[in-house]
């Protein structure tokens, strides 16, 4: 066994999260930062996202995916971050040591002082949503189809049915159409669309692609290659209604049925996961339950905005550098930040310190108009922001400054809740913190 490498910080994954974390760690004084990526190039999913809509918060302008990635890649290339492409991390252990492999170095034993998990997420597949039928060629996830067309220059289908109306499904409906393929329709099991209104307009409506709400695919036909799918209407319990079946001839079924944070390595390291997010439980410095292991981006929960990913990456990268340089500090006891009314989950889930501002990210359980999202401590609202509309697909973020957090920590009993706007005045009587600097509209830009 060769001698183990001992860098300050290892970042696993070089998508937007990993790029941002490695840069932040390097800029915060970590001497030796290693960025490990299993793919052939940097950028993660961004190089295949050739549509625009990235970067309005981070850069104040909208960029395409490749442009957004390139701004970070250029900085990485100017830095002394060590990049390992085509390199797979096989195993991460609770003592932060890890094993990776590639063709050039062989098996790498690495013992970093700090680790940042930035593995991103993967697509939910056909069997995870249990679509009955045959198993022919031509059943493909939307992100994989995007890669085929935009990177490989290959057409995974010519007559396409899309299941799922998340943003990536909508964007692929447009992409297939622009390639001259026919998109028969987009089917969505829920009674409301999964993607942004803007994408519904620009990707479906503008191209006359029908959206069928409360519908799902109930059978895949074709032994060798997809020949057709059966679609059915569903009832309130999302169960297909007998008698509503319709046969739709097609040669491909494109699935946009959800994304799953990639935490196989996290599990191996003993990192505690939050069942609500599918990702690690983190504190305000993005540190996981295992000391010296940090997390950022879609490995924590699936963000709708790459800008948010970048933000969490900067927090995690800086904290990892501090940990690597200054060593472990005595960890203060953590306070849980619980999801309150109409909140499904909150990230970070824990609050230990209050020496810096913290952005809380959360998703609502159901759509609601005219609301106020707020951080509450011991029944007292401390930070709040208004929104005209909140919807489950769109992440909400709420800023809290160190002063408010100090108060929150001393009060305890933290939660984040979404309240109807009209109830506010009587209840709060002037205790509401001023709005933070974010635009009031919570409609974010395209997800990746």
């Amino acid at each position: 066994m060769g001698k183990a490498r001992k860098p300050d910080v290892v970042v696993i994954g070089a998508g937007p999260a990993g790029l941002g974390a490695a840069l932040a760690a390097s800029e915060a004084g970590a001497r030796d930062v290693m960025l490990i990526e299993r793919d052939v190039e940097l950028g993660g999913i961004l190089p295949q996202c050739i549509h625009d809509g990235f970067g309005s918060i981070v850069f104040g302008e909208t960029l395409t995916g490749p442009q957004y990635a390139q701004r970070f890649i250029d900085r990485v290339e100017r830095s002394d971050i060590e990049v390992k492409l085509n390199t797979m991390v096989l195993d991460l252990r609770p003592d932060r040591s890890l094993t990776a492999v590639n063709s050039r170095d062989g098996v790498l034993e690495i013992k970093p002082r700090a680790v940042v998990l930035a593995m991103g997420c993967r697509e939910r597949t056909r069997h995870q949503v249990l679509i009955p039928g045959y198993r022919p060629a031509g059943v493909i996830c939307a992100g994989a189809a995007q890669r085929d067309i935009n990177i490989e220059g290959l057409m995974p289908g010519r007559r396409v049915v899309i299941l799922g109306s998340g943003d990536i499904g909508l964007i692929m409906a447009r992409r297939f159409t622009l390639e001259g393929a026919e998109v028969e329709g987009v089917y969505e099991i829920m009674d409301h669309p999964g993607g942004l209104t803007r994408n519904l307009v620009q990707c479906l409506h503008d191209y006359d692609i029908p959206l069928h709400l409360s519908h799902t695919v109930t059978f895949i036909h074709g032994r060798k290659r997809v020949e057709a799918v059966t679609v059915s209407r569903v009832d309130e319990d999302l169960k297909p209604i007998p008698g509503t079946e319709r046969l739709v001839p097609c040669d491909a079924l494109v699935l946009s049925v959800g994304l799953i944070p990639e935490n196989e390595l996290s599990r191996g390291a003993g990192v505690l996961l939050d069942p609500a997010t599918g990702g690690p439980v983190v504190d305000e410095r993005m540190e996981t339950s295992v000391e010296g292991i940090f997390a950022c981006g879609n490995v924590m929960n699936v963000f709708d905005l790459v800008d948010y990913v970048t933000h969490t990456a900067e927090v995690a990268g800086r904290a990892a550098a501090e940990y690597a340089v200054h060593g472990a500090r005595r960890r203060r006891e953590a306070l849980a930040v619980r999801p309150g009314r109409n909140v499904r989950f909150v990230v970070p889930q824990l609050l230990r310190g209050h020496d810096r501002e913290v952005y809380f990210y959360f998703r609502v359980r159901h759509p609601e108009r005219a609301v106020r999202a707020r951080l509450v401590a011991g029944g007292m609202p401390l930070a709040a922001k208004r929104a005209r509309m909140v919807r489950p697909p769109e992440m909400v973020r709420l800023r809290a400054d160190p002063e408010k957090l100090g108060e929150a920590v001393s009060r305890g009993g933290l939660s984040i809740e979404v309240m109807p706007e009209d109830r506010e005045p009587g209840e709060l009587s002037g205790k509401v913190a001023p709005e933070d600097q974010e635009p009031e509209s919570l409609e974010p830009e395209d997800r990746e």
């Binding site: 492999v101 697509e123 249990l130």
Partner: protein, 531 residues
């Protein structure tokens, strides 16, 4: 070596039939390949034919991988006899093939639902307890003993739950059968086919048998869509199509009615320890319409939990679909036996088509009407377990029909297998990467399959030439992402190695292209856009 590989690959893609062979086996499933391998112990001039693009494309690739003991079979049937004997022969059967076989055992669980309500209603609680705790388990052990199944033992409720903590707390007692084993059925089939090839056999795929030439009551040849092979010996191991092949020779008399079985497969990271042995709920005989042995919960050799299979009569022998009803049935059935099984960790679902006759027993016979024609039909579960004994029985007929009884002195008893990166330790990994850097290039991120392994599969003795073929040999695309990461990588390697454009790479042979042309094709002038 490389040239030899190329020649083999060329031949594989565009096979030429030999003018004659001493024996022809129709069907390259587990039974056909095992018989061919056995024939090569005595002579090398044997051909295996299959209409699919790979071996193991029928029921051999889509069953639950169990090597049963025979405890579930009806006393006195050929099935039970061959199953009990086959199970005992298994270690020798797989020896030298480089295929993992382990005996994980079967736990038969007895609960109040093991007995129909009309029986329990008439009983007092003490009597019922006696039945479930003592009489049924002891009855199972006695039944096994009578069939020659050794080592069965009765377990108390505590022992059942200690052995398998995820089993329903309603368990009253159990029986443990240590004979049950697990083997990957398609890996075993591939290994048997390769072992036969090493010893001189030819495996010819993409070739459909359309007729059997019979003259004066004797087999003279096999007619295919690629031409004819003259032979005096034909073994019909055509699975669900065995009745049709038998009819071609005029050696039929049985009918295969296809019966589908669907299975759900779970992420092994979540379920590797979920059940340690196979687990099945005991049901009093006659309690349900006995369409299959009822299936169970079991790990795969790799540690994925499997639940199933179902048993549904179908019209179409090609019906490998899985229906919503079947999925629901599996969930409902196992919700009782394993109340907390992780539904959300399903990563795959598959169906296979069983090949039962109406008699529901194996049909293994040298035809009395057509000399030189041997039927090996009606092979359904426990066919995998019975395979060694089926082969032994078939060889009895073949020796009588002219296959020499003396083994060849030059028979090679081993088939070299490619190491699996995922199973090696770091020292072994380093050594391989030093020798060939492609051992360090991970192609499949879930199962840690390297480029070297994919290449080995494509350049093997029975080459993989499509995505599913590579998958079965290496596990690419079998993990939780189901090919999202490795799909285009494997396709590119296949295209490069086969010397074809990537648009001609298929999932499972002709008619299953992964891609329908290149981007911009539909936009070029002269090409009609669909829009």
């Amino acid at each position: 070596m490389r040239d030899k590989n190329r020649d083999r690959l060329r031949e594989r893609l565009n096979p030429t039939l030999p003018a004659s062979a001493r024996a022809v086996v129709v069907g390259a499933g587990i039974i056909g390949c095992a018989i061919a391998r056995e024939i090569t112990r005595y002579l090398s001039d044997v051909v295996v034919l299959d209409k699919e693009n790979d071996v193991a494309c029928g029921a051999s690739k889509a069953n639950n991988a169990e090597v049963h003991s025979g405890i579930g079979e009806e006393a006195g049937t050929l099935k039970q006899k061959l199953n009990v004997r086959g199970n005992r022969m298994y270690d020798d059967f797989v020896a030298g093939l480089g295929v993992e076989f382990k005996r994980q055992g079967l736990l038969i669980v007895v609960t109040p639902r093991s007995v129909p309500p009309e029986v329990t209603e008439k009983m007092g609680p003490k009597e019922l307890d006696e039945l479930l705790r003592v009489k049924i388990p002891e009855g199972i052990v006695a039944y096994g003993k009578a069939a020659g199944i050794e080592g069965l033992r009765v377990l108390s409720r505590e022992e059942v739950l200690k052995r398998e903590p995820n089993v329903t707390p309603e368990a009253v007692a159990g029986v443990f059968d240590p004979n049950y084993g697990l083997v990957c059925p398609y890996k075993l089939t591939i290994a048997l086919a390769e072992h036969a090839v090493i010893n001189g056999a030819r495996v010819i795929l993409n070739t459909e048998v359309t007729g059997i030439r019979v003259e004066d009551g004797e087999v003279k040849g096999v007619i295919t869509d690629r031409g004819e092979i003259a032979t005096g010996l034909v073994v019909n191991a055509a699975g669900v199509f065995a009745d049709e092949v038998a009819e071609m020779a005029g050696a039929g008399g049985f009918r295969i009615h296809p019966r589908k079985g669907a299975t759900l497969l779970f992420d092994r990271q979540v379920t590797s320890e979920y059940v340690r042995s196979s687990v099945a709920l005991f049901k009093m005989p006659g309690m349900k319409k006995e369409r299959s042995k009822g299936g169970g919960a079991m790990p795969t050799v790799e540690g994925n939990l499997q639940l199933g299979p179902t048993a549904v009569e179908v019209e179409d022998k090609h019906d490998t679909s899985i229906t919503a009803e079947e999925i629901e049935e599996i969930f409902e059935r196992f919700h009782y036996l394993l109340p907390s099984f992780p539904r959300e960790a399903v990563i795959s679902a598959f169906s296979g088509v069983r090949a039962p006759t109406y008699e529901e027993d194996f049909v293994i016979e040298a035809s009395e009407r057509v000399r030189g024609f041997v039927n090996v039909a009606g092979i359904q579960s426990p066919g995998l377990a019975s395979a060694p004994a089926i082969v032994e029985m078939v060889m009895g007929f073949l020796h009588g029909l002219g296959i020499p009884r003396e083994p060849r002195p030059d028979f090679d008893p081993t088939r070299p297998s490619t190491p699996r990166f995922a199973e090696l330790d770091d020292r072994e990994r380093k050594a391989l990467i030093r020798k060939d850097p492609r051992w360090g290039n991970i192609v499949c991120r879930c199962e840690y399959v390297t480029e070297a392994e994919v290449l080995a599969a494509i350049h093997s003795l029975v080459p993989a030439t499509d995505m599913d073929g590579v998958k079965r040999r290496t596990r690419t695309g079998m993990g939780r992402c189901q090919g999202g990461f490795c799909g285009h990588r494997v396709a590119a390697i296949l295209a490069r190695e086969l010397g074809i454009p990537v648009t001609e790479v298929t999932k499972s042979g002709d008619g299953s292209p992964l891609y329908l042309g290149r981007a911009k094709d539909l936009l070029r002038p002269g090409r009609a856009s669909h829009g």
